[in-house]
Symmetry: C2
Subunit: 328 residues, 2 copies
């Protein structure tokens, strides 16, 4: 330490002074602190981490949308999830490092990550496998439940789908259609299964439109396609993320009034749903709570150094919006 030399003290003493530890006379402590300040000294974080044995860094990857690496942030759900995760991590004393989707890369093998969060992994995600093989703790969704070194948080898909379809039915919809992304994410797979089960229970034929790629365009086209089917559905459960006002636009273009002709629920965190014309009922996957609960779990697992897998299941929140019966 050059501060030590400058102050005529030993590095031990300076370290103790700056950290407020050890037994030091007020005079010496003062002197050390003063010269450090004067010299603009900042302790080397890397050396600290090496000594401490931990870097307090957590990796963050979104498995879905692997095609266009960072497109997920365009989705309000992931934007919220990412922000909330980062906030929660910092509150627990960890920092979040943004990583690209894909396999465990040489690019970030040099990062001292204590764990990696894999949000919405695809089915049998190779990244998850690589991480577990490398003995790096993984935090993801329920698809990793039970595996050693893996923890998870997830949404009760079955309950969420049931509640949504029941709500549409209570509003009068007997023939609800489903608009679903063509993806292997756990939530989407389970949604399809739950929708089918619901239809079977109610003796309703299934009306599923798959959206090939993410983005407003494809979803709007899928909605139009779903609404022009014969017989026309009287309910719409849009699970693919799109701007809710655009879904309303699509219905309007087809001459359909919402909710008179067709009742709509969008799975979306987009705030514009509340201001759409008419307002759109949404099902929230509660990204903020997922991040909060998940991070608590991850941190406690990390501190406890526990390989014993843990997880928590949250329930989605339906935000039913009184449609203003706006004249079309």
């Amino acid at each position: 330490m050059d501060v030590a030399r400058e102050a005529g003290l030993s590095k031990t003493t300076v370290s103790a002074a700056l950290n407020g530890t050890g037994r030091l006379s007020p005079a010496v402590r003062q002197k050390a602190v003063e010269t450090a300040r004067r010299m603009g000294y900042r302790p080397n974080a890397t050396a600290r981490q090496l000594r401490a044995g931990r870097a307090r860094l957590i990796g963050y990857v979104v498995g879905e949308f692997a095609g266009e690496p960072w497109a997920y942030l365009d989705s309000p759900y992931f934007a919220r999830l990412t922000g909330a995760t980062s906030a929660a991590a910092l509150r627990h004393g960890y920092a979040l490092v943004m990583l690209p989707a894909g396999t465990l890369q040489r690019e970030w093998a040099d990062l001292p990550l204590e764990a990696v969060i894999v949000a919405d992994p695809v089915q049998d995600d190779p990244l998850v496998e690589d991480l577990l093989a490398a003995r790096i703790p993984v935090f993801s969704d329920a698809s990793v439940a039970g595996r050693t070194g893996a923890h998870w948080v997830d949404i009760d898909t079955d309950a969420a789908v049931r509640e949504s379809l029941d709500h549409l039915r209570a509003g009068g919809a007997r023939r609800p259609a489903l608009v679903l992304p063509d993806s292997t994410t756990r939530f989407h797979r389970e949604t399809l299964a739950a929708y089918r089960a619901w239809c079977a229970r109610h003796g309703t034929p299934e009306r599923v439109t798959l959206v090939p790629t993410p983005g407003n365009g494809p979803v709007v086209r899928a909605v139009e396609q779903a609404l022009t089917a014969d017989p026309r559905p009287d309910g719409l459960f849009v699970v693919a993320e799109a701007s809710p006002p655009l879904v309303m636009d699509a219905a309007r273009r087809l001459g359909l009034a919402v909710p008179a002709d067709v009742r709509v629920i969008c799975v979306s965190e987009d705030e514009s749903a509340a201001h759409a014309d008419p307002p759109v009922s949404t099902l929230s996957l509660r990204p903020a709570d997922v991040a909060e609960e998940g991070m608590s779990l991850l941190v406690s697992a990390l501190e406890a150094d526990g390989d014993t897998p843990q997880g928590v299941l949250l329930t989605a929140r339906l935000r039913a919006r009184k449609s203003s019966m706006h004249r079309n």
Copy 2:
């Protein structure tokens, strides 16, 4: 190294073997690699960083929206900027660490950051001052131009505003109104100045509506307020970020046809603008290019270890959309 003991080799030899350096017989190299693999050895990244003297970590903060720390990701502009910055950083061999807005905190004093990106700083941002005082390289917008240890990338606001207003005028708008966030971000301040200058040049009275807080609701209300002014504006330059379809909804609710009654340009990266009814012309601040150019500049400045400040100015892109003259 326990791998060295296990393989009956020295740590030097094992290190050389795993890194592919040094002069080693194929047999020994093979043996070292093999035992390392068998033992699941992963080199300690922190120790590597300490030895290398650099951590290849860059901090990322968004100065605007300081009230609700992570709300900025809700904005498509910042979502894109964040994703693109992260991608560019990784391509250059750096990783991005997400940090909360506000002053230089103890929370992340322990992170070995080589630089910090401050996107959209507020006026005289205290964070920027703290970072520069701590001799941490700062990357931000043109407001830090010329300061030692600070580099920047920015958009040519003046040209962007002029082009947009000229385009509205070419479409027939003689009385364009401005809807602007009430913020101290450089872009917003300069936008107001450029708008005023344009109005002065064309002998048009200024019509400015300030939006007190971010979010769709406040912006929509501001748009309605602007459109109900007397005399009613025949052009609208919406700089506050909102969902473009909602802006169209607002005009429609007021019985105004776009673009027949009022021509509209939204400053927005929201993809839904293209699918709105009618499609909305937008001014793109090109977050992807800003991230790309900015990161190149930052990395070269970092490698050159240069304190000599550098910057680059980009021009915004107007995406004029042929409105479909949709019957209202």
